[in-house]
Amino acid sequence: MTGPDVAWYVAVAAVLFGIGALGVLIRRNTLVVLLSLELMLNAGNLALIALSRHFHNGAGQIFALAVMAVAASEVCVGLGLVVALNRRHLSLDVDTLSELKG
């Protein structure tokens, strides 16, 4: 059970990170920007786990679990912001949210 080299996994992670970065840059809806951030975090997780397997080192998997916790925290705060914006009847378009005025 050998399968593909670690380099293939890292290549998939790089392309997935590029897709996520493109989504963050190109989309205007705050929710979709948050979803694209999740894609970027998952690409980082894939690279961490692939290299953890390559170097026989458990620290990569531990770091991937910590990244998952950070992603959950980010979703918690980001969706809280979205709900707060929606309560004030503000637009969810990231281009119109240019002022930090309450």
């Binding site: 670690v6 998939v12 590029g18 979803l35 997780n45 026989h56 950070v70 918690c76 979205v82 707060a84």
Partner: protein, 181 residues
Amino acid sequence: MILASAGNVVVWMVWVVAAFSCLGSGVAVISFSNPFFSALALIGNLASLAVMYLLLNAEFVAAAQVLVYAGAVVVMFLFVIAYVGPRRETPWSGGPSWQTVGAVAAAGALLVEIVVAVGMQANGSLHSDGKVGAAFGTPAWIGRVFLVDHLLAFEITSVVLLIAAVGGVILGSHSQRGTAR
């Protein structure tokens, strides 16, 4: 020998399916105009990533990925999308086209930079058979590594989650006071 090569072919096939569904659902996440479908596409992305984690002997992380992301994060996303209501938005023509061109160029440059940096740093050393022990990636092994070697990271992670939960509550209650005034 024939059995081993057949197993290798099966692993390759599973990997190819998982990689293509991972990248395809990633493209679907950023290209659906309805955020509801984007969140559903993210579930496919997470499931195919979990398959790749299983191929990489990371059973516990794959289970945690499915539980945490598909079970909690995506459900929360779907809840908020349903709460906010459907807001359609065309992904590729939302504004001036030079912004789209610039975004594509920036993302492409980032991808090229990652590939060049990883390629130069790895320099062909990422090709190995990678035999690991039977305990690698099992919950017992992860638990020992996490709670013995990386105990401080574990505790700090719990504090980060607590602070995020408190921040979410404060954001919600503050916005309620703002509308009441």
